[in-house]
């Protein structure tokens, strides 16, 4: 499998650490309540198909938001996580 790093281009999967679904981008406020936090920390869409997820390119220290299909493993665009609108 090859993943796109927005800085380094397409690289072997062995250079990356998968870092969770895109739910991580929307951290609730401390007082958002039990349900919101349960949602954020535990519950997952876990899609069989198109997915948006975070990958860390370990050698260059970049978190990317990557489109990937969990059934076909086709990989789409990757953008810098820090630039993703929340």
């Amino acid at each position: 499998m090859r993943i796109n790093c927005p800085h380094c281009g397409t690289r072997d999967r062995r250079e990356f650490t998968w870092s969770g679904a895109d739910v991580a981008l929307n951290r609730p406020a401390p007082d958002a309540g039990e349900a919101a936090w349960d949602d954020y920390v535990h519950l997952r869409e876990n899609p069989a198909g198109a997915s948006r997820e975070l990958w860390y390119h370990d050698p260059c220290g970049t978190f990317a938001l990557v489109e990937r299909d969990t059934v076909t493993h086709l990989v789409g665009d990757a953008v810098l996580a820090e630039k993703v609108a929340r």
């Binding site: 800085h7 380094c8 690289r11 250079e15 370990d58 050698p59 260059c60």
Partner: protein, 181 residues
């Protein structure tokens, strides 16, 4: 009072000739990590250029000017080697002298040898002189930079210097031995 003696990361491990390759240590001189803060990239690059004649390197580039080198090492960060830096307004500056082992690997088989260890197309067509990559060398994170037609510099964490020399040496021996089959 006693004076401390400096010892470089690859001291005692190189120079060596192995499998037709020459492995030697790159004397980096002072090394500083430069990472501009938000919105300061251009200003820092200018200041750096004024100081050592090199701006912040583009992604995947190593630039040189005299003894000074500026090596891209990841997201918004460069290592400036071979020149002491003044305070650059708007950047995090961190002394990294001696933090990394920088090994020069040279010889006709260098591409074939690195192909044993690096998951990257390092042939000159894809990876010309001056190109650098943050990648892996075997199990180690590394910067791999082409510095000549048959020469690369490989940089890993200082503590892994011995493993680096061992891995590259082993690959070089195996590549050389193929010719005997």
């Amino acid at each position: 009072m006693a004076r401390l003696i400096a010892k470089s990361p690859l001291a005692g491990l190189v120079p060596v000739e192995v499998g037709g390759l020459t492995l030697s240590e790159v004397e980096t001189g002072p090394v500083t990590s430069v990472a501009p803060f938000k919105g300061k990239q251009t200003a820092v690059s200018k200041a750096l250029k004024a100081a050592v004649g090199l701006g912040m390197p583009k992604v995947g580039r190593m630039d040189r000017k005299g003894e000074a080198r500026a090596l891209w090492v990841g997201r918004g960060r460069a290592l400036v080697m071979g020149a002491a830096l003044p305070d650059l307004e708007g950047a995090a500056q961190t002394d990294q002298t001696g933090a990394n082992a920088v090994l020069r690997v040279e010889g006709p088989a260098v591409e074939a040898v690195l192909a044993r260890l690096v998951p990257l197309d390092l042939r000159a067509t894809a990876f010309p002189v001056g190109q650098t990559a943050r990648t892996m060398v075997a199990h180690m994170m590394a910067s791999v930079t082409r510095v000549g037609d048959a020469a690369f510099e490989v940089m890993v964490m200082r503590s892994m210097a011995q493993t680096l020399v061992h891995d590259i040496g082993g690959a070089a021996k195996a590549v050389a031995a193929r010719d005997l089959v």
